[in-house]
Amino acid sequence: MDRYLLVVSTVCFLAALVHTAIELRAGVFRPMRFNFFAVALGFIFQTAFLSVRGHQLGRCPLTNLFEVFIFLAWSVAAIYMLVGPGYRLSLMGAFTAPLVVLLQGFALIAPIDVRHPAKLPANPWLEFHASISLVAYGVFALACIAGVMYLVQERQLKTHQLYSIFYHLPPLTDLFAAITRLLWWGFVLYTLGIVSGFFTGHPLPRVQVVAAIGVWLLYAVILQGRHLRWLAPKRVAALCIIGFSAAVTLLWGITFTAEMNPLP
């Protein structure tokens, strides 16, 4: 039953995606209006799904890969709604929608919604660790999207080929400022997530810890490079994409190994 909520949510994000594609193809794009409302509606259904699932489980719905993907998609949409309008990154909705559709679409199609036979006991530290880490991933996803937007605009400016989308992108320097802020937010949240992982009361797999610290170090290097001006904005934008890809791979690995070796 709760999956229907998710299907409706995915349709909302898909509507934003299709609408943007049609408008960009026709050379007419009006940011804010449709995209923001479609993403907002999708977000409401996502929240409803997570709430229903949470009540069923009696804990934060992060018990399998399916729920992890949905929680990640929810974080991306939530952060977009917080950041997008504030930083006038309205077109970000057009870039956010495909990512959410991809995450939710995969979660709905793939047979990964495997329920645990026994009801898992609530563990506040574990739930805090998992949820804060996923919100951090959501922020990194937004930084990745902003990075893509930066590279698209940079490329058009360099080649002197300006397409319709160019006129809807935020100024290059504003976009870079948004990337920097998102990286800092994500980094702080991710640090909290890693630290709280040590308080869960369970032994942590060594590979997971090393990989998580590896991702943390990658973002630390990006921020340090940005702070000390070693890295040009274009490289920071590209590294945001690489960083998020690494983070998603790690997330997959963590969830996969957790499902293979469930906690006692």
């Binding site: 026709a26 050379g27 007419v28 794009f29 009006r30 605009q153 400016l157 360099k158 002197h160 080929q161 300006l162 319709s164 160019f166 006129y167 992108l169 935020p170 100024p171 290059l172 320097t173 504003d174 870079f176 940005r226 001006r229 070693w230 890295l231 040009a232 904005p233 274009k234 490289r235």
Partner: protein, 356 residues
């Protein structure tokens, strides 16, 4: 009731012909001389048009005679370049004009202001009555809708505005940008002025002749910088406008690369409007540098125009919808007017309603 438009524009007449019909007539004089019930005169550098309402048909020659400056010239000589649109065609033409679809530069913004001014002038003089009032109010609405719902006004189409537009795309607000104008030619002055008009405050002018540099700096509210020091300035500035008469490139990749190391996180926008070029094209390959020469600026302007032309069909669709709707409302108005002749009190109400 006849609603018609008679006029000539850059499509049908050259400037020598157009200027023969500008300046002598007013909307009021057209009402008086041609016997219209309502009239409005729209005059711009590209068109002279009369929108009028009359009970009987008024010939194109009569309107041409009203507009003509030389009263001793035979009006038949001039009637040829005039076009005439009646009823729905007139409505459609005005909607196209107000939406800048009929302009020389499609999507330009001046025409709407000019049309509003012409309407205001006719309204004040009493030449424009309820019919033209409704027509023009609707035209302004259509123009606004076209601008909002299509990309007809998107992108800059002149060299100066392209440069400023690109600067805003890179830096956002130009208030904090440092601009160096290298060479004090006419084009760089125009570009500098355009940047100032969009908020640029820190302008430095560097020129071989210090007098000319002072003159330009004063004109644009900037300050001068000795010509020998311009490479040092490149470390600080965000925008460089260059148009010197140098035969060889002043700025090369080798010269600029060390300076960029100190400003890695800030983009540098270079507008090279000199011919031969002042900046080596390979400079554009450097990270964070956006080099636009006169050809690339022209190419951006052409892309904007092409983008605007792509939007014409969407704009025409909006206009067609409004023309049909307006025609329906007019025929309903006429129906009410016919009933009003039988019941005068009803007529007063419908006129008030139409004016609302």
């Amino acid at each position: 009731m006849n609603l018609f438009c008679i006029g000539l524009s850059h499509h049908t007449a050259n400037v020598a012909t157009r200027e023969q019909f500008v300046g002598s007539a007013t909307a009021e004089s057209i009402v008086r001389e041609a016997g219209c019930t309502e009239a409005l005169l729209l005059t711009t550098c590209n068109r002279v048009e009369v929108y009028a309402v009359s009970h009987k048909r008024i010939s194109t020659d009569e309107i041409a005679r009203c507009l003509m400056r030389k009263i001793d010239t035979d009006p038949h000589d001039y009637a040829r370049p005039f076009y005439r649109y009646e009823a729905d065609k007139c409505v459609q033409h005005l909607f196209r004009v107000a939406s800048a679809l009929d302009s020389m530069v499609v999507g330009e913004s001046e025409i709407l202001g000019q049309a509003k001014k012409a309407y205001e002038s006719a309204r004040k003089s009493g030449a424009a009555g309820p019919c033209l009032h409704r027509l023009f109010q609707r035209a302004f609405r259509v123009a606004k809708q076209v601008r909002t719902h299509t990309e007809i006004a998107r992108g800059a189409v002149s060299a100066g505005s392209v440069a400023v537009d690109l600067a805003q795309r890179i830096f956002g607000k130009l208030g904090d940008c440092k601009v160096l104008v290298l060479g004090a030619g006419e084009t760089s002055e125009r570009t500098a002025r355009a940047l100032v008009s969009r908020g640029a405050r820190d302008l430095r002018v560097s020129n071989r002749s210090m007098d000319r540099a002072c003159e330009l700096a004063q004109a644009v509210g900037g300050r001068t910088a000795p010509f020998e020091e311009w490479p040092t300035q490149c470390r600080e500035i965000d925008i460089l406008i260059t148009s010197t008469a140098s035969e060889t490139p002043l700025l090369t990749r080798d010269k600029l690369a060390p300076m960029l190391r100190e400003r890695l996180d800030r983009p540098l926008f270079i507008i090279d409007i000199a011919v031969p070029r002042d900046v080596d094209p390979s400079v554009n390959e450097l990270e964070g540098v956006y080099l636009y020469d006169i050809d690339s600026i022209r190419s951006v302007a052409e892309q904007s125009l092409a983008l605007r032309r792509q939007q014409v069909a969407a704009a025409e669709a909006i206009i067609a919808e409004h023309v049909t709707d307006f025609a329906n409302s007019i025929s309903q108005g006429l129906h009410h007017a016919a009933r009003a002749t039988e019941h005068p009190s009803l007529g007063e109400n419908s006129l008030q309603a139409s004016e609302l």
